[in-house]
Every structure is written in structure tokens, then in C-alpha cells.
Symmetry: C2
Subunit: 285 residues, 2 copies
């Protein structure tokens, strides 16, 4: 029954621009995904189409075997952070929370109150007068409290200060542990969510470049460092996704299998972090 | 003549909330400032008042001895990134750039073209259809190309991917070196601008907490690490702004002078970075 969201051959174009090019993807239950990609790669468009906020040109999306579009039961299981943008700017935050909790039975009012306190949110502020950071905070609170099973957080930490980013990451881990469900998080501050996400989806040039567990990805990512000529010789034929040099010392970044060649004494192999891997993978033409 | 922007006893309140509480500050010519503070501290409000986009309740602001408000000559010297939000959403980016370059004589059209290429900006996109990241990119480009002497960048890297953040930081350093002028940058990704800014202004609870050169601030910031009891004894009486513990080992973070006590052999003193200092300073109640 719980087979998750299955996306098949999704195409979205706008005039001459292809925004999503034949995207197929499975979003499984009870996992935390990082949705990564350069500016303009198509992340927001993908989230909006899955949440039935925008139309695709072709392709299919199902949740547990049925469509999401025009299907109230499935629509209630999917939540996208930008949904609250439909509320009038003059609404006070406390009224906005009341409305949302009227719409969603089982809205987590206790958590909503707790998070409002932790973020020091003024419930009497008007929605339209919020700063960028507090606008993100209201979106985060609603997203973590709605009873949906598939929560799409589109750049949740936009404008959040360092302390509030920590409040968010901790609240996410806690609520996931209390009630496991799926979160799909797009962000450009990758190093901060690397320890939270179990899976990574990378979109590049409108296509899916990577769709794998964080563990597998990190286990297939290497920095090979040493004298330039020996590094180049050892890494010849491998999937080199980037390199850096400092004087005569060079690092080649590898994504994928290493080979059976003996490793020269002057060459060391170390792991690279997700941010560095991402920048190198998505920057390559 | 070039004495910069002098802000004296600025007060801004909204109903019962005090947003800026008697803020006095000098913004000098040809310096790059980081404007830091928690969400809701008053950073955007301060920038908007200086740029004459919002009114204060009391206090004075002058540029080179004259007011900015109602003073066309001084107004033309001050630019705030959110100014382009007044352009209609249906404007194409190329038309928006034409308008801006018509308004500002000496708009740097060459740099505008160069940066549009580097950011891979589609000049035929409509302003209102831009993603969060590309909206920030358009604001950055205009801010770096207008001929103003005091440029206020309010969260310029909002939604920018890691590569585009680098493009921005490098472009800022280059254009500053070509034509030194003042930039005031608010951001929550502090470690990334720590090497670019010459001065730091920290707002906390509506007041100025720190206003000093980056060099002085970093030279007055220490982590004292060792066995908890010896660390606490050595740092007794110092300005402890935060601490972290791992088992029996503790670090106390100090902002200000150390003392003349002998340093125990088991205790080490090291520097802390701006992000860590900021989080500790602004998190303290």
C-alpha cells in the first residue's frame, strides 16, 4: 500500500524553455530527502507539480497507486510550504494558525505553540509585515504541524539566522522521530543538512543527476591528493568531477568506483563532503 | 567633506514594539560592512530608514553633513537593493536594466552584461517569474552597477546556490577594487563574508551591540579550552560570551581582554571565528 510517490517521465516546459526533462523518481515513505540543484535547475517547479500547484505537460504522478491531482484523499497527504502564501497579508499569525488548524484535523497545536515560543514569533504580527526570516519561520511551523505524510519544504531556511536554523533542524529531527513521515527539503546550505537527510536528489539541467542514499553517495566520493602528475596518473579513467591545485599539489575529486591500481606512497585518498561534491558535480558543463 | 553617513539617536517604533532603540552609528566612505543580527533585530528597518524608504520616529541621519531625506544629491549617492521591487512584475529583465541605466547616469552597463553572463541570467525572463535565487541575482547585479557611493545589500545571497554565492563575492571584491565605495551587507551566512568585510555592525534587541573593525573583533575573541575547573578558574572575571563542553573538557568563549593570570599548562587559548562569536554574543539573554 505505502509505495510512496512515483513520478514517471515528467515533462514541463514554458515557451522555449525546458524546465523538467523526462524526470522519473520515487519518493519513499518515512525518509528525509535533500533536493539539491543550481539556481534555476527546476527544484521549485518539481515540488509545485507534485503538490498539484502547477501542471506538467506530460508524465504521471501517483501516491500509493492513485493520482494526487483531483484526489482529495491523496492531496491531504501532501503539503508544500508555499501553500500558506494564499492567506491574506492582513491576517495576524494567530488567526492564520487557527485557520490552518481548522482545515487540517489533527494539526499539531501543541507543537505549533512550542515552536512559536522557541522561534520567539510574535503571534500578533500581520502575515504581510513579517521579515524574510519570520516568513520562513511561519512556513516551517505550519509544515511541521500539518498531519500530512509527504511534506515539501522549499528553501525552508531562507533568511533564518544561525540559531533559528538550529532550532529548525532540531525540531525536524524530533518531529520525525515522534512520527516518521517523508520530508523533501530544498536548500543551498548543504553542509548544514548533510547529517539530517537520508537521501539525496540532485537536479541538473532539468534532469535527475543523482538519486541515492546519502550513505552511498558519500561512500562513492573521494579526494585523491598528491603531486599533480601522480594524482593524474592514478585517477586516469576514473570519474573525475572536479579538481583543485595548490602549487604542485593537486586534489582530484572522484565520484564513483576507484580502480585496482596500486596507490602511490605520495598519494592520499580521503573523503569529501556533500557540499564540495555537489558544487563540483553541478558546476561541470 | 567625505565624512560618511552619521546616524544619531535613531528611534523607530511600531505600536508597542521598539524596532530601533536610540541607534547611533557612523558609516564611513570606502569600507565594506557586515550588518549582523538575529531575525527581527532591526537590520532591514535600519537600512530602509537610511535609504529614506521608511521614516524614523526621531533621530537624525546625514551624509557628508547634509540630510539624505528630501535631498536629491545625497539620495543619488545611496542605493538599497530592494528599490527595484517597485518595477512591475511583467517587466522583462532586459527592460528593467534599460530603465535603471536611464535613471542612473554612469550605470555600469559593461559590468551588468558581464555579470548577467556569469550568473547565466535569462534577460527575457519576466521580473515577476524569477525564482528566489534569480530575484537575488538581479538585485545584486543592479546594486553592483549603480553609480552610488553607499550601497546597502539586504540579504543579497538569499536563495543563491554555492557557486553563485562565489560569483557574487568575487564580483564584489573586484568592483570594490576598481572603484572603492561603501557596501553594507546583511547576511546570515557569516562565515562566507568574514574575509570580505572590513567592519562589523551587530544589532541586538534593537540596539548596536558591536561596531568595530573585523580585525579588532577577531583579535579580541578567544576560546579557552581545557579541563572544566581550570578553564573556569582562569576565565573567572573575563567577559565570557558562551561555552561548550565535551565530557570533562570545556571551552569558554571570551570577547574582550584576557587577564595577566598565568595560563595553566593544561589550558590552551585559540581564536574563534566570526560566526561562532556572533552566535554566542547574540544568543546570550
Amino acid at each position: 500500500m505505502s509505495e510512496g510517490i512515483i513520478i514517471k517521465n515528467l515533462v514541463k516546459s514554458f515557451r522555449k524553455d525546458v524546465i523538467l526533462d523526462n524526470v522519473s523518481l520515487k519518493i519513499e515513505p518515512e525518509k528525509i530527502y535533500g533536493l539539491l540543484g543550481r539556481n534555476g535547475a527546476g527544484k521549485s517547479t518539481l515540488m509545485n507539480i507534485i503538490a498539484d500547484r502547477k501542471f506538467s505537460n506530460s508524465g504521471s504522478i501517483t501516491l500509493n497507486g492513485s493520482t494526487i491531482h483531483d484526489n482529495d484523499e491523496n492531496l491531504s497527504k501532501v503539503y508544500l510550504t508555499s501553500e500558506i502564501d494564499v492567506y491574506p497579508d492582513k491576517f495576524k499569525i494567530k488567526d492564520l494558525f487557527h485557520w490552518v488548524s481548522d482545515i487540517y484535523k489533527d494539526f499539531n497545536n501543541d507543537l505549533c505553540k512550542k515552536l512559536s515560543d522557541e522561534f520567539k514569533l510574535n503571534l500578533n504580527s500581520k502575515f504581510g509585515n513579517l521579515s524574510t526570516g519570520y516568513n520562513s519561520i511561519v512556513k516551517i511551523i505550519v509544515a511541521l504541524c500539518v498531519p500530512a505524510d509527504y511534506i515539501f519544504l522549499d528553501e525552508p531556511i531562507l533568511g533564518l539566522d544561525a540559531k533559528n536554523r538550529d532550532v529548525f533542524y532540531n525540531a525536524l529531527i524530533q518531529t520525525y522521530s515522534d512520527r516518521p513521515r517523508t520530508f523533501v527539503i530544498s536548500t543551498h546550505i548543504i553542509e548544514e543538512i548533510a547529517n539530517i537527510i537520508s537521501n539525496v536528489i540532485v537536479i541538473k539541467n532539468s534532469k535527475i543527476l543523482i538519486d541515492d542514499s546519502t550513505e552511498n553517495i558519500l561512500a562513492s566520493s573521494y579526494a585523491v591528493t598528491g603531486p599533480a602528475s601522480q594524482v593524474d596518473e592514478y585517477t586516469d579513467g576514473l570519474n573525475i568531477v572536479g579538481s583543485e591545485a595548490l602549487g604542485k599539489i593537486k586534489s582530484n575529486y572522484i565520484f564513483g568506483e576507484l580502480n585496482d591500481k596500486p596507490i602511490p606512497d605520495t598519494v592520499t585518498i580521503s573523503n569529501i563532503d556533500l557540499q564540495k561534491l555537489f558544487v563540483n558535480l553541478t558546476d561541470k558543463e
